[in-house]
Symmetry: C2
Subunit: 320 residues, 2 copies
């Protein structure tokens, strides 16, 4: 099968159908209508086999992840995703693999109303690069740079679960039963916080997604804001499953240093606290935990019961 039939078969109709796609897959480029009053938000993320996911990952999990990591970037800006492009490099044409990949990618795309509007397939070692375009009302984007001393620091969900799930898959952590299954699923099928991110517009003073580890990504946020952060170890949300399989100290290391969470980490000014309570209590909101405070200065410190704790190193694609 040639490249072009292949694209036709698996990718020409993937994801949502959108009226603003004037021309999708099938010309030299896609043609898209941007509504007035909206800004464009764009990101790209590449997944390399054996580096961002285990070589033996299911094709549908890889397809899901390739889109999820980008959705998470848009969520962190408060944007609503719209259009994706897929650059897929693979060693050969494996139709069963392609079918699985398209199913995983397509399921998540449908869930978020994303149309696949273009792409490129090439032969080579397996790697997937997705570009995602989204929209938001002009001037409302969440940025990394808005945190101010006194702001409260929140995180959604249960950081560390996905990293523990990967450790289980790789044999670096042992466990069985429902806890193991739950953690592995958190790694295999991250749920980017897209709807919640858009609802944080006007409430959060800054936001970033947790992809490389909570402490490392918080370090980036405070650096961009020119401030520092103090986290309270006792307030870190640790899931029951993570706690059960890893124990408290190791669970905290997973939560602070593990990557692949795709949760949102954000700051809220004291004056917006009431709005934040209401948002957190509203239908469909994920668990949100206040884990510390923005301070003057620089860097991230984690306070335990007996003073400052060491911070596990985050994920760096050229150090990992």
């Amino acid at each position: 099968m040639g490249e072009f039939e292949l694209i036709d078969r698996y990718f020409s109709q993937l994801g949502a159908q959108r009226a603003d796609v004037v021309q999708g897959v099938g010309d030299d480029a896609a043609l898209l209508a941007v509504p007035p009053g909206q800004q464009l938000v764009t990101c790209v993320d590449t997944l390399v086999a054996g580096h961002h996911f285990p070589h033996d990952s299911h094709a549908d999990d890889i397809g899901w992840r390739a889109l999820a990591v980008n959705l998470s970037d848009l969520a962190a800006m408060g944007a609503t995703p719209a259009w994706a492009m897929l650059a897929l490099t693979m060693p050969d044409v494996d139709e069963e693999w392609l079918e699985g990949f398209a199913a995983g990618f397509g399921a998540l795309a449908m869930q978020h109303g994303v149309a696949l509007v273009g792409g490129d397939t090439t032969r080579g070692p397996l790697s997937i690069s997705v570009s995602l375009l989204g929209l938001l009302p002009t001037g409302t984007a969440l940025r990394r740079s808005g945190a101010r001393p006194g702001d409260l620091i929140y995180v959604t969900g249960w950081p560390g679960d996905a990293a523990a799930g990967l450790a289980l898959l790789q044999g670096r952590l042992q466990g069985h039963g429902a806890d193991r299954g739950a953690l592995e699923f958190k790694f295999r099928r991250p749920e980017p916080r897209v709807a919640f991110g858009s609802r944080l517009r006007g409430i959060a003073s800054s936001c970033i997604d947790v992809s490389d580890g909570l402490a490392a990504d918080l370090g980036r946020l405070v650096a961009a804001s020119g401030v520092g952060a103090v986290l309270r170890a006792a307030e870190l949300p640790l899931s029951r499953a993570l706690y059960a399989l890893a124990g408290e100290a190791r669970a905290r290391d997973f939560a602070l240093g593990g990557g692949d969470d795709y949760e949102l980490l954000y700051t809220v000014a004291p004056g917006a606290r009431q709005q934040m309570f209401q948002l957190a209590a509203s239908a469909g909101a994920p668990a949100c935990h206040c884990i510390g405070e923005v301070v003057a200065g620089r860097g991230v410190r984690v306070l335990g019961e007996r003073g400052e704790l060491p911070i596990p190193r985050g994920w760096d694609h050229f150090h990992a």
Copy 2:
């Protein structure tokens, strides 16, 4: 050096500075202002080492090419390029290589006013995926699908030169001196027809860029338009250098079947011929040659002096 310092050093300020970039490299996603009345045009192309360029290519040539192939896609739509994202996968951090790559990419980006607004660097076998975003007035895009029987078929420049240049680099074609240098340079530094593409809006009835071979890409254009095409072999523009090194028959094969030209192939209705003459005669226009005609039916035929000629196969990333 970590990924983030690396991005900072080489990519945070690459290309043109644009007032419509609200946030470039440095947050979870880029934030871009789309002017009213404009449509967005987007494409992505991946280059894999050893497949889209020889392993021993200069880093600056690779950087140039990674952007050029995408600029050519936007040129074929008549769009004006604006913003690029770069997904770079490389085996290790080689600063000399990065410097060269950034220099080649940056030079072409500056030439076309393109800002690098985002990207991702990962470790793995060398591959480069560029997403390019451009703009054009709503409703003016050149499409593959507008060719009608009776339209004239044009191509810019000297197709086949780049493929011959690659053949010289790979030892499949022999030659020396200025002719060899000229052909190799056409492969190493393709000049996408961006300005000319935008001037074809309102004149061309359809357009595609020649990346996989003139005959193959013309085949795609006529398929999208639901028509056929007849080319006259005697009208194919063959450069003096190509003719000198390859001889007439082989030169014609390079022109019809060779990839990597990044010329524009377009059709013009008989009624727009006068406009086309004026455009071709205007300052800065590339050489434009009428090479055949759109006909009812389907497929591409090439007529020689003694009847129909066989068509060399085009470039297909899963057959090559």
